[in-house]
């Protein structure tokens, strides 16, 4: 049924339709509305049978999810930012054990400095944790990806993280088509665990493994993730047949087939990029977009196929590896090794800085002339950074960075506005 509702509530609906048996979460902005809505559904009996466990931390949230999943329950949790970091050790256990937990990540920056706004620093920090990572472009896709995620997780016995942009999607009201329970039941069979802690058939899960087999058990995780490269598009195709919508898949191209310039992005910024691409297409520029929906496992062949024909590729990402540069950019270069396109890294939108059409237009104008640097930080006020660097040189006790720089921006703002 079509409904106008908040992204968080759309996701809570999707999760409830998947009939989780254990939900354990610790609230953190911007994930809070999702787990609040789910706790309401459990409390009112709308979602039953299901146990909602209020835990004391994210570490406990993931630990409870692991325990629940290992005893054969369909388990769900959600977090963001520092919460993801706090559950980090348990994340690796969930993936190493091969437990099909589904978790929503409401993407948010990581401190310090503390910041509650959106970027992809949190999910990108755990890209190699062994979890499958799917990125939603819209709230409809976020809803749909959760339904697909349970099927994917349970087919492969691997955990799946559904990443949706915090605030930009979680707190946006827009139109979503919420499927009927029967549709979801037909698409998602009841959870049949591959491994289960059952007193009538006792086993241990999580044994210590020495050098004789650790390598093989770890490699198995990689082998299963690589299998997901076949499962993800198949599940998206099945989903389309059942629900009539394109959602999920590995990558998605928009006007990119004959494009000389292709922008690569993840998540909700793709819509804004598409708008700018349409403007440029109207001016005769051969430009397109490739969105990476499934970032882990990384669809190397599909990315290579989608981008190989271009002259230049602009990778726009909301995170970066300090001391190196773009993360998605490195992955795109890996896919394009030996092929002609020049790859430009553009880091944008950190800590909730808006990614505007105006800034994208200016950046793309430079890219089209090949004037763009290999690494661009979109709308970064370098002067503020340089001022702080100078302060560090001039004075031993130069003071706290963030406080200094906020003060500088205050002065600049007072002068220019």
């Amino acid at each position: 049924m079509l409904e106008q509702k908040e992204g968080s509530h759309a996701v809570a609906d999707a999760v409830a339709l998947c009939r989780p048996e254990v939900i354990c979460a610790y609230p953190i902005s911007p994930q809070t509305h999702i787990v609040e809505a789910l706790s309401d559904k459990v409390r009112t009996g709308e979602l039953t049978p299901c146990e909602y466990v209020s835990v004391e931390s994210e570490f406990a949230a993931m630990s409870v999810a692991i325990g629940a999943s290992a005893t054969g329950a369909r388990a769900y949790t959600a977090t963001a930012s520092q919460g993801l970091l706090f559950m980090c050790e348990a994340l690796y256990n969930a993936s190493g054990l091969g437990l099909p937990i589904v978790m929503t990540l409401a993407n948010r920056a990581i401190g310090s400095p503390i910041n509650i706004w959106n970027d992809h620093s949190d999910s990108m920090s755990q890209r190699d944790s062994g979890w499958i990572q799917l990125y939603a472009e819209t709230n409809q896709e976020a809803l749909d990806l959760h339904i697909q995620a349970y099927r994917l997780a349970e087919e492969l016995s691997l955990p799946v993280m559904v990443c949706m942009d915090g605030f930009i999607l979680t707190h946006a009201y827009e139109r979503v088509d919420v499927p009927a329970q029967e549709q979801v039941d037909a698409f998602l069979p009841p959870y049949e665990p591959r491994q289960v802690l059952d007193p009538s058939e006792p086993v241990t899960i999580g044994a210590m493994v020495g050098p004789e087999a650790f390598f093989e058990v770890r490699y198995l995780m990689h082998a299963k993730q690589m299998q997901a490269l076949d499962h993800v598009p198949q599940i998206a195709a099945d989903f389309k047949e059942a629900f009539g919508r394109d959602s999920g898949g590995l990558i998605r191209s928009y006007r990119a087939d004959d494009a000389e310039t292709v922008i690569v992005g993840l998540g909700s910024v793709l819509g804004t990029i598409e708008e700018v691409v349409d403007e440029l297409r109207d001016q005769g520029v051969k430009i397109g977009v490739v969105g990476i929906t499934c970032f882990r496992p990384y669809p190397l062949d599909e990315v290579r196929e989608a981008l190989g024909h271009a002259q230049r590729v602009v990778v726009l990402e909301k995170a970066f590896a300090v001391g190196v540069g773009g993360i998605v950019g490195q992955n795109v270069r890996l896919a394009l090794s030996g092929l002609p396109p020049t790859v430009y890294d553009v880091v944008a939108g950190l800590g909730g800085r808006p990614i505007t059409k105006r800034s994208l237009r200016a950046m793309l104008a430079d890219a089209l002339e090949d004037r763009l640097g290999r690494q661009t930080f979109l709308d970064l006020d370098l002067e503020i950074v340089e001022r702080e660097l100078r302060r560090l040189q001039q004075k031993r006790r130069s003071g706290p960075h963030a406080e200094n720089m906020i003060r500088d921006i205050g002065i600049v703002a007072a002068r220019s506005h």
């Binding site: 827009e174 804004t272 708008e275 808006p354 990614i355 505007t356 059409k357």
Partner: protein
Amino acid sequence: MFQVRIHGRGGQGVVTAAEMLSIAAFIEGRHAQAFPSFGSERTGAPVVAFCRIDEAEIRVREPIAEPDALIVQDPTLLHQVDVFSGLRPDGYILINSARSFDELGLGELLERFRRERLLMVPATDLAREHLGRPIPNAVLVGGFAALSGLISLESVAAAIRQKFPGKLGDGNAAAAAAAFELVQREAKEVTHA
């Protein structure tokens, strides 16, 4: 695409106003996207929320820098925030106040924008009267429907009742209807003046 920016203070239901507007547009079969300015809102702090309305799917996700319409829930913001920033020359302005543009020191706005698209509505007074609480958000959505002609009062009332079931919804819907009527009357007076 029609873009609305709503300014107010934490506690006045600014975000909820944008959401109700989006629901009203949805009820009329249109696409709508409402979102807050993503601050860590505190009671009394300046808050901004946005609503886009279009016939087609809305893909853009940037904040609204050049709105077609402004709703100002708290006139004390006028001296603190540049609420008129980026407003299109043919834009609409609805301000929650019982005073006039001149009384608020906004006489120059009447020169810059189309007079019949600039109106005041005493939304807090109407809210007090119909709800017993000084929460002006739903009232202003009703007034905005009349000022812009973009959505019907029926859709606004349905959106209000969806957000606030029961008595609270009835009170808000009644206050919104009063604002709708008031704004319609004022708009007529301005046009004929």
